[in-house]
């Protein structure tokens, strides 16, 4: 479906919690440098998809491939060394640790001190607010600042693929807009591919391609210009003006 080389391929994934199956044959892909959106409302299975991809849950069947290599069910600790980072739901702040410590952990797997220092400088210049508060505990930051810290931490390891889970959670529309803008900029400047999982259709403004997830199944896909059309249709569906 894409003409770019795929980094991430999800193939007929069936997953869930214990006896409860949540995902039914979900397939998607993310190519190099792309921004791909996975849209869905509450309970559609978005977070389950990401948790299965990152190995927090074992799938019932199906495959997850990274650069062609099968990583299905591999534990999350192996992701960062392979160039995949995730910004979890709620931003995943380590609340008792400082901003600087959170950022340092972003580069935990790296051993190159010079590269780490360079990444840190870049993070501080991209997000000056973080530089101001580097000794502050992460739990005391506001929602928007935490979002910045989460993104800054994510790019510390110079990843090739970034998974973002509901960046808009708990943020006002203005902050959400800022967050999406930041993600778009990160994608533009460093070329990192992004899989953004969202409820908020505004995310489609960033996307090169999009999937819609409903009750654990992919019910629609779109590419390029079709993405705008999909955005309009989703908006109407949420408002109930279309027949339900």
């Amino acid at each position: 479906m894409t003409d770019r080389r795929p980094i991430l391929e999800v193939d007929s994934l069936c997953s869930g919690y214990g006896a409860l199956q949540v995902l039914f044959d979900v397939s998607l892909s993310v190519g190099e440098g792309e921004v791909v959106a996975l849209m869905g409302s509450n309970g559609a299975g978005k977070t389950t998809t990401l948790r299965t991809i990152t190995g927090l849950i074992r799938p019932m069947s199906g495959h997850v491939r990274l650069d062609g290599a099968d990583i299905t069910g591999r534990p999350p600790e192996t992701l960062v060394p392979r160039g995949v980072v995730m910004v979890p739901e709620g931003r995943g702040m380590l609340r008792d640790l400082t901003v600087a410590e959170n950022l340092a952990l972003g580069a935990y797997v790296s051993k190159d001190k010079a590269a780490i220092a360079a990444s840190l400088d870049q993070a501080y210049s991209t997000f000056p607010i973080l530089a101001e508060r580097r000794e502050q505990k992460a739990g005391t930051l506001s929602g928007g600042q935490q979002q910045m810290l989460a993104l800054g931490r994510a790019i510390m390891s110079r990843p090739r693929l970034m998974l973002v889970d509901e960046a808009s959670l708990g943020l006002s529309p203005i902050m959400t807009e800022t967050a999406f803008n930041l993600i778009a900029e990160v994608n533009r400047t460093s070329g990192v591919a992004v899989l953004i999982v969202e409820q908020n259709v505004l995310a489609l403004d960033l996307a090169d391609r999009a999937y819609v997830l409903e009750k654990g199944q992919v019910v629609a896909t779109a590419q390029g210009a079709e993405v705008r059309t999909m955005q309009g249709r989703l908006r109407e569906a949420y408002l109930g003006r279309a027949a339900t």
């Binding site: 990152t54 927090l56 534990p75 999350p76 600790e77 992701l79 960062v80 060394p81 980072v85 995730m86 979890p88 995943g92 702040m93 380590l94 609340r95 008792d96 640790l97 410590e101 340092a104 952990l105 972003g106 935990y108 797997v109 931490r153 390891s157």
Partner: protein, 298 residues
């Protein structure tokens, strides 16, 4: 100055308890499990070391000195801690904390009963690993073991502090404690953190056994569990999520215990146990999170 010398002795006693208390808090912070097995884990290694001191290491003619026996206790304690973590505690990671507590109870019971079986119920002689010199500090007679306990407690506290705040693995440990899932997503091997907590915890228990047993001259099964209760009380009073709290709480328990015992004569440990009970009960009713604890721990 009677009281002052009692306090000094109490601090030294508390210092020995703090070794176990730190082990408990380390494990609690890392794995959300409250472990009551630390006493017997330490005792088991010490039993082996002291037994070999008397009978010789099986297959050889070597009789380790008391000091070497102490080292054996530390090493065996660490090994035992790692084994317990891998076989018993890791499968329980996603279960409610009560299950973990019960598992450590099983470990304590099993180890104590094994000690009874292997070494019999006669106490094993436990001489001091650091000689018998008695120092005098502020009019208080402190045997070498108590001084050693104090020094060790300080070293451990400082060492852990430096480790946790200045090293990369220490940072990873704090991350795993704060949020294991997020830590895993950052590439931290959380299982390694658990192993570290239990390995160090086991070693500390062995250390504690080596310095506590000589005070009574001998070692019996279940005796170390009684000491570990003092340490647990100290950890709870100080606050289960704070290493400094564990130390402060243990020192407090040591002081109260010694002062009560010196001033109210009775059979061994009698009134001291009552004092500990009152202290724990009081802390949990008045300030449940402990002196230095930060949250209403679940």
């Amino acid at each position: 100055m009677e009281l002052l010398s009692q306090v000094v002795t109490g601090l030294a006693v508390g210092a020995a308890y703090s070794l176990i208390a730190v082990a408990v808090v380390l494990i609690y912070a890392g794995t959300k499990t409250l472990s009551i097995a630390m006493g017997e884990i330490g005792a088991f290694g010490l039993f082996a070391g002291l037994h070999w001191r008397e009978e010789g290491v099986p297959g050889t003619d070597y009789h380790p000195s008391a000091l070497v026996a102490g080292v054996i206790a530390v090493v065996l304690g660490a090994l035992l801690g790692l084994v317990v973590e891998r076989l018993v505690m890791r499968p329980l990671v996603r279960r409610p904390p009560l299950d973990g507590l019960i598992a450590t109870l099983g470990v304590a019971l099993l180890l104590a009963l094994l000690e009874l079986k292997i070494y019999g119920s006669d106490p094993v002689s436990a001489p001091s690993p650091v000689g018998n010199r008695v120092f005098t500090v502020l009019d208080a007679p402190l045997p070498a073991t108590r001084v050693a306990a104090f020094v060790l407690a300080v070293v451990v506290a400082v060492g852990l502090f430096v480790f946790l705040t200045r090293t990369k693995f220490g940072l990873a440990t704090r991350a795993a404690v704060s949020d294991p899932t997020v830590a895993r997503l950052l590439g931290v091997r959380v299982n390694s953190v658990y192993m570290f907590a239990w390995g160090v915890g086991g070693a500390l228990s062995g250390l504690a056994a080596a310095v506590l047993a000589p005070a009574f001259g001998n070692l019996t099964p279940f005796a170390q569990t009684q000491f570990s209760l003092r340490a647990l009380a100290g950890a709870v009073i100080g606050g289960l999520d704070s290493i400094w709290g564990a130390i402060v709480g243990s020192l407090l328990v040591g002081v109260v215990e010694t002062v009560v015992q010196s001033n109210v004569s009775s059979s061994q440990n009698g009134y001291a146990s009552m004092a500990v009970l009152v202290l724990v009960l009081g802390t949990l009713l008045v300030r449940p999170r402990g002196i230095l604890g930060t949250t209403g721990v679940a």
